[in-house]
């Protein structure tokens, strides 16, 4: 620590931009994701392995009666897994870990806005979820004889809404999570409810009608509905609009909850 001469007064200052700040943060988070085995398993391995384990179960289901094929069940399911694990669960861990290490507090002393901190940290996980979904769509087309989507705009819309919503829900859950270890517990409710009630592991078409109509209101249900509808093309404009509205409502609620209740510092 020498060199008093190196201390100079500011001259011409380059100003940071939101995009530059986001990129800087995202790059660091990507490095961290690559260095954490646990996060890699959750983000990469689990979402890609689960559809295979589901395959035999789906083969037993009466999917034909519901007017579906095995591929039409597995493809939305795989995208659902990707959203739940690569995006949601991974991000709950990321937000909690950064908070406990006081990284979030430190970042808030700088020029980053709060929304930029959470978005920048989310970028690698959200990108992983997006790439996985595209990979799964391509894989299903090649391996499960899934035809080209009839209403691709609905599938794209559903996927994008799902990515944003899962990131926001991760922020909500992280606010309720004390440690990285307890994140495994706090993420369970949404993961389980979505697998059972949102048509991820069990298609909603196979549930009793009145139960199905309640389950349609769960956060991930509209996403799965839009993705499946995008491929089958059987969704009416009314149904599609309802699903979009439900997904938007959950996203707005989650963003509000994050703004209101997100914890930037560890509890003492």
């Amino acid at each position: 620590m020498s060199g008093t001469t190196a201390v100079t007064t500011p001259t011409g200052r380059a100003v940071t931009t939101p995009a530059g700040r986001l990129a800087s943060l995202a790059r660091a988070e990507l490095t961290l994701l690559g260095r954490s085995k646990g996060a890699l398993v959750t983000a990469v391995l689990v979402p890609l392995a689960l559809p295979f384990t589901l395959r035999s179960a789906v083969d037993q289901m009466d999917v034909k009666e519901a007017g579906l094929t095995v591929g039409m069940v597995l493809l939305p399911a795989a995208i659902g897994f990707s959203l739940l694990f690569a995006v949601y669960s991974t991000l709950v861990g990321v937000y909690t870990a950064r908070r406990e290490e006081l990284v979030l507090k430190r970042l808030r002393t700088g020029e980053l806005r709060d929304a930029e901190i959470l978005s920048g940290a989310a970028l690698p996980a959200v990108t992983t979820g997006l790439l996985q979904s595209l990979l799964v769509a391509a894989g299903s087309t090649a391996l499960l004889d899934v035809p080209a989507p009839r209403a691709p705009h609905l599938a794209v819309l559903g996927l994008l809404l799902g990515l944003v919503m899962c990131a926001a829900l991760a922020g909500v859950t992280a606010g309720l999570t004390r440690t990285v270890e307890s994140a495994q517990v706090t993420t369970m409710p949404l993961v389980l409810v979505s697998m059972i009630g949102s048509g991820v592991a069990v298609p909603l078409e196979l549930l009793p009608d009145n139960l199905a109509s309640v389950c349609e209101l769960l956060p991930l249900s509209p996403v799965i509905t839009l993705v499946r509808g995008g491929w089958t093309g059987s969704l009416s404009a009314y149904e599609a609009l309802g699903a979009v509205a439900t997904a938007l409502a959950w996203t707005v609620i989650a963003v509000f909850a994050v703004r209101r209740w997100f914890r930037w510092e560890p509890r003492r």
């Binding site: 020498s2 940071t16 800087s24 430190r106 700088g110 020029e111």
Partner: protein
């Protein structure tokens, strides 16, 4: 001119901070810091230093009162203030799995007008540690990394929350030298510390915080001068306190006797010391353990702590 608000880089007025549980950590403090000044907030743990600094940094909204940094509210006008300030938190704040270079690069991407990261790391002596993961750094090295990042944007105002805690003696001296150099280059520095010698040696002005209030403020010399000087000695065998000249006439304002040891407090050290020595000369006795000294900041600090709440604080700082 002093009253002109543009003369002050940091202006704090009747600042209060009440936590969720109702605990009032900051209880109405006011002070101001001029450009290019090093200002220290001195206090024991729990005095309210960090609670205060976090309000100055704009991390939380005050429960009452007002903060102005460079004329702006650091909480509501974050976008205006942040590019001009640098912050070093009391602890941590870096992902443990990133290397020093990666951490600095991440931070540099979020700082307007950032100097080269190598330059900032070299300033704090971490140039040789760029490929080391943060989790493998010693506590002192982590403090220095934090300082390097606070300096990345060449800030006009620097907040340092206990910058030398955890550093060894050499690291502490290096940090002091660096902070002085920054001040000489025009940076305004607000730091907290519980090291008295740090406040005394480094700060142009300081405030002693105690239980959320400012107990004393001014230059180190002013704060010290508010406390009495002390004389102590052993009474010779066969003599009693009453054998001394009338203490009040020597300018002594207080005294204690502990066995044979006498301690006198005075604001007129020369007069009291002369009185005692002339008496000893005339009586032909030797005053063993004779000690006469002006108050130090430490005594001022202990005096304030003692006045307010007794011995718990005293132990910590005498030890």
């Amino acid at each position: 001119m002093d009253r002109n608000e543009h003369e002050h880089v940091i202006e704090v007025t009747d600042l209060r901070r009440v936590y969720g549980g109702g605990f009032e950590a900051v209880r109405g403090i006011s002070f101001s810091v001029r450009p290019g000044e090093i200002f220290a907030l001195l206090g024991t743990n729990g005095a309210g230093k960090t609670s205060t600094v976090e309000l100055l940094e704009g991390l939380a909204r005050p429960s009452g009162g007002q903060v102005r940094i460079l004329g702006h509210d650091p909480y509501t006008e974050r976008a205006v203030v942040r590019p001009r300030t640098g912050v070093m938190l009391q602890e941590g704040g870096f992902p443990s799995e990133l290397t020093v270079a990666e951490t600095a690069r991440m931070w540099a991407g979020c700082v307007s007008g950032a100097r080269p990261t190598e330059e900032a790391l070299a300033l704090v002596g971490l140039a040789g540690k760029t490929d080391v993961r943060v989790k493998q750094l010693s506590g002192g090295e982590r403090r220095r990394l934090d300082l390097a990042l606070a300096l990345l944007g060449e800030p006009e105002v620097l907040f340092l929350d206990e910058p030398t805690t955890g550093l060894d003696a050499e690291g502490r001296r290096d940090t002091w030298e660096l902070v002085r150099a920054l001040r000489d280059a025009g940076t305004t520095v607000l730091l907290t510390t519980h090291y008295l010698e740090e406040a005394e040696g480094l700060a142009d002005r300081l405030a002693i915080l105690h239980e959320g209030r400012i107990a004393a403020a001014g230059t180190p010399a002013e704060v010290t001068a508010s406390q009495p000087s002390r004389i102590s000695f052993e009474l010779p065998e066969g003599y009693f306190l009453g054998d001394l000249p009338a203490l009040g006439e020597l300018g002594v304002i207080g005294h204690e006797v502990d066995g044979r040891v006498v301690r006198l407090r005075t604001r007129e050290l020369q007069r009291a010391a002369t009185g005692v020595l002339v008496w000893a000369e005339r009586a032909g006795v030797e005053l063993r353990g004779l000690d006469a000294r002006s108050a130090s900041l430490e005594e001022a600090f202990l005096g304030i702590a003692r006045e307010a709440s007794g011995s718990a604080l005293e132990k910590e700082h005498v030890a």
